[in-house]
Symmetry: none
């Protein structure tokens, strides 16, 4: 699985890393029980500071995507465990301003739904293997 950091993006690097790992899980590139590279290696490979990797990993853990295993390092969590961390209120708060913007810009409910469905399929279809 390839991770690409855009240093010129507005979104902080740790967030980019976190997002791409989450997307990797959604796509099935990263499966439960699989392990993530150590903060050191990951930092080296991406050319970023290991503190930044650390922060991304901390967020992932805190949001239930990973667990720390003493010997194996950072592991992708089981799907059940992830499910337990579902927080619809938070998701709603994140989606609301985006949908509001789409409505303002003249998209109808149908168009938005279509847009979303296509995007979801693009994510799920991005599965390797």
């Amino acid at each position: 699985m390839i991770i690409q950091i855009q240093f010129e993006s507005e979104t902080p690097i740790y967030k980019q890393l976190r997002d791409q790992i989450v997307q990797g899980i959604a796509q099935g590139d990263l499966k439960p029980e699989e392990s993530l590279p150590s903060v050191r290696r990951m930092g080296q490979e991406l050319g970023i500071n290991l503190h930044t990797v650390n922060k991304a990993y901390a967020v992932l853990k805190q949001q239930g995507f990973t667990v720390i295993h003493k010997r194996k390092g950072v592991l992708i969590n089981s799907l059940e465990k992830m499910r337990e961390h579902l927080d619809t209120d938070n998701l709603e708060n994140e989606l609301r301003p985006i949908f509001s913007e789409m409505i303002c810009k003249g998209l109808t409910q149908k168009e938005i739904s279509g847009f979303c469905e296509k995007l979801i399929q693009k994510i799920q279809g991005g599965q390797n293997e």
Copy 2:
């Protein structure tokens, strides 16, 4: 139209303000040609600095939601003008990590679609009057 700032929130105040105004437009609470309170009054009402309001207004203007009218102050833009600022690439980039998270947490495409549609209706249905 009521605006609520959460001072403990992680999201910057100017962003909260911007988001709620955009939502207000989406809901129809704020209609094209209507005017926003002056930076000073808005700041006073919300208990925040006028510069912070200024920044929110600047973002709204730059994103095409408002225009500065020399005599009438800050006005909600026409729907056509807003439409010209539609940037689907950007919206896709904002939605992707959220949908990825939803997929990880076990929601099916159908559930996500349903979730989104309900949310959109909630926004549009929040119209006063």
Copy 3:
């Protein structure tokens, strides 16, 4: 000669008014010895404050485009008088940032020259009568 004020423009109203009168002279719509409407009438016709018209007129006078005639009001100056107010240093300072921007954005000297010539002809060709 028709003057159009854009209340939503960034440029101040008095500057818009001044610019359009200067352009009117350049186009030949306004000829030496002709008189401008009184500040009152001009303000009324354009729907702007008479102080704003006053400011535009003051600038025009100060830059040599007009003279105040006791009985006839504000008159367009003679071409010779205008010529005396030619200030190439100032013009250069106004043009420099614009040309710099054009160069940055990849326009060649030839393209810029062509662009300018076309614009000048457009101004001179806009003559009525």
Copy 4:
């Protein structure tokens, strides 16, 4: 590259700074990928507040002249990216009143063209190194 702020000038400081940086790019003093001093250093060197520098930098970014690189700070953008921000309508609106003034003051099309060409060469010829 030397930047000179005129504190008595009518044009805002942040605009002066922005203009001179754009001119620096046009002259080739500042090349793509090169970095600008931090807002703090630049402010200190020019004897102005860092927020003022910030505003200049924000404008430059918004107009496509620079990008914020997470590790390297503020960088001059690539020429291609700048080109994408070319807005001829706007440039025309900025040039029109200046050319109108030149015409009024008796300059012929040929003289104006010559004036512009000399100025452009002066800008491009101002290259150091």
